[in-house]
Amino acid sequence: MLKSFRLGGIHPPENKISRGAAIESLPLPEFVTIPISQHIGAPAVAVVAKGDTVVVGQLIAKAGGFVSSNIHSSVSGNVTMVGEFVDSSGVRRVGITIKVEGDTWLDSIDRDSTLKKDCDLEPKDIIAKISDMGIVGMGGATFPTQVKLSIPEGKKAVYLIINGVECEPYLTADHRVMLERAEEMVIGISILAKALGVVRTYIGVENNKPDAIAHISKVIDAYPNIDIIPLKVKYPQGGEKQLIDAVVSLEVPSGAIPIEVGAVVQNVGTALAIYEAVQKNKPLIERVVTVTGKKLEKPSNLMVRVGTSIDSLITYCGGLPENSGKVIGGGPMMGRAMCNLSAPVTKGTSGVLVMPIEESLRRSASVCIKCAKCVGVCPMGLEPYLLYKLADLGRLAESEEHKVTDCIECGSCSFTCPASLPLLDMIKLGKNEVMKIIRTRK
């Protein structure tokens, strides 16, 4: 029997329309706007000013703290502005706008496509290089990778788990990476394993991607320490804690991080970025983005330079169809509807999903009938109906007691609720408020 995580989970329609579309490079845009905060943690500090000329791969903003990340120019050209732009949620943020001129790359970047298998760097140097190249977790959370690889004192990494689950409906970016860039990705994985000093590495892939499983199995024949684990399809298997449970049957305790049980989880996209960073000196300046939607003319997987505007991606795929209701950044479960399409693609943009209006409107909410469906599907073993009510009433102390901070915001509860209650909306609110209180305690 195939493995999966034990607690809860749902089966949303997969809708992986773009699974057959090979990765294409999006033509260079005229302008890019690169936000200085594309990661969790402190924003980076801009090191270029208006009027400067930059080339592809040049450092334009330096990490602003321990949990932060370097940011590099994704294009060559002139810096026209270091200042505010409007992001996809309509909020003004600081970014660096560059007018594209030609495509000149930094000399140190190896643009040759030949595989470079051997890595003779020490673990410490690997992590330093990953940090220099501005690598962040590309599954969507954008946590700076070097922080995740720096194992706290007294802990030891035993398992490296590579996340190739891609459990979000519609998204196929990781799937295409596993099919088309598997050789590079697997070298990236072995570099990661070396940096962490782990013996066993597992690649978790859901069995709705049999072609990827077959292809990777062939590639990893030469690597005795890497195994591929086909998993039963269930959302949210791509959640860090769910994946650890599914692959090595270990439960990460409430409030702890995966290293507590000796596991480190990295996304397949991150592994590819690490290969390019360590072996080819290429910073994280582009990523694969799935642009999809049922009515979209040409659902695609595009290799996009960071900073390209979202609407140019949609235009490339045939333009916004009539009667589009929402454009979602990310997948339909955890993604966010965007209110400004001129916002840029960032390191964490895994998908752009165009939903027709009839599918995007929420059903009107009625009252909770205490059917406990949400309790049954919650992969963290929480009681969403209760957390919803507590957040609504502002009873934060009780929310904390009921472990609202363990919520991974997967949206399974809202998906399953027969009363269409906005469960996750309120739980997120409660979680944010509780987190604020916890931070003031320190």
């Binding site: 966010r336 209110c339 929420r362 909306d425 997120k428």
Partner: protein
């Protein structure tokens, strides 16, 4: 049969009397002295239990009023000066001096002034909307109009105007308890002095964007042009973070700034209509 009944009645009555005697002595032994003035003071308070005084309900406030020697820092915004005076004279303490306050919504971004650029489809809650994104109009500072303030108001003083999509305060009902100020995630609502005859002048905008950006999202935005600062003879207006603010302690209600404001961000309320001085300045 009758003996069973009799036995039961006698036993239960004896038990009852015994229990009463024990309870009486226990009550005497463990009696907690409570100042009777607390009850009386509580009776004098409005009994709304709104928390506007900073205490958990009117009982808590009454307790503090009786126990504290100096009550000049304690104030019931709902009862206002009259209530505080009568309580102070009852307790033989000096009453705090405080002017009546009223909540003011500092946003005039109606659907006409600040058109919607998207539609929010999540939970009907300002707090949720504010945590997700900028808001339905181009202005990410203004009133979201989903009524978190209405929900917390114990006095029915707040409503959402369906036409304008903004929160409105009924000044007669507002007691200035400040519950709405804590509930508003955008911090649009401010407590201001009620003023003579409820007359007030304030800047009805808190958009911290630069002038051009603010104006683009809302026609009545404060653009921080400093015209009002220059015209004010009492130094009541300051500009910080691209927004003007009128200090109600310094403002003498001369209304010069209202005429001067090029966008109409400064609002006057409860004034009689202006006398027409010359045709060019009429509205």
């Amino acid at each position: 049969m009758s003996s069973v009944l009799l036995f039961t009645i006698v036993t239960l009555s004896t038990l009852g009397v015994l229990a009463a005697i024990i309870l009486y002595f226990v009550a005497q032994k463990f009696k907690v002295f409570e100042d009777p003035r607390i009850d009386t003071t509580e009776g004098m308070l409005p009994g709304a239990n709104c928390g506007g005084c900073g205490f958990p309900g009117c009982r808590g406030f009454a307790d503090a009023l009786v126990k504290e020697d100096d009550i000049s820092n304690l104030f019931c915004p709902v009862g206002g000066g009259d209530t505080m005076n009568s309580i102070a004279s009852f307790l033989g303490k000096s009453a705090p001096e405080k002017e009546p306050m009223v909540a003011v919504v500092r946003c005039n971004g109606t659907c006409d002034n600040s058109p919607k650029v998207n539609q929010f489809d999540g939970a009907t809650s300002c707090a949720v909307s504010a945590s997700l994104y900028g808001g339905e109009s181009g202005c990410s500072y203004g009133c979201l109009g989903m009524g978190d303030c209405v929900k917390v108001c114990n006095f029915g003083a707040l409503t959402i105007n369906k036409e304008s999509g903004l929160a409105e305060v009924d000044e007669d009902k507002c007691t200035g308890c400040g519950a709405c100020i804590k509930a508003c995630p955008k911090m649009v609502i401010e407590l201001r002095k009620k003023g003579p005859k409820s007359r007030k002048i304030y800047v009805s905008c808190i958009n911290k964007n630069k002038g051009a950006v603010a104006r683009k999202s809302c026609t009545v935005a404060c653009i921080a042009c400093t015209k009002c600062v220059k015209v004010c003879a009492f130094d009541a207006i300051t500009i910080e973070n691209n927004v003007a603010y009128i200090d109600s302690n310094k403002c003498r209600l001369c209304r010069k700034c209202v005429l001067e404001c090029p966008t109409g961000a400064i609002v006057e309320v409860n004034f009689p209509p202006r006398k027409v001085v010359e045709p060019t300045t009429t509205n």
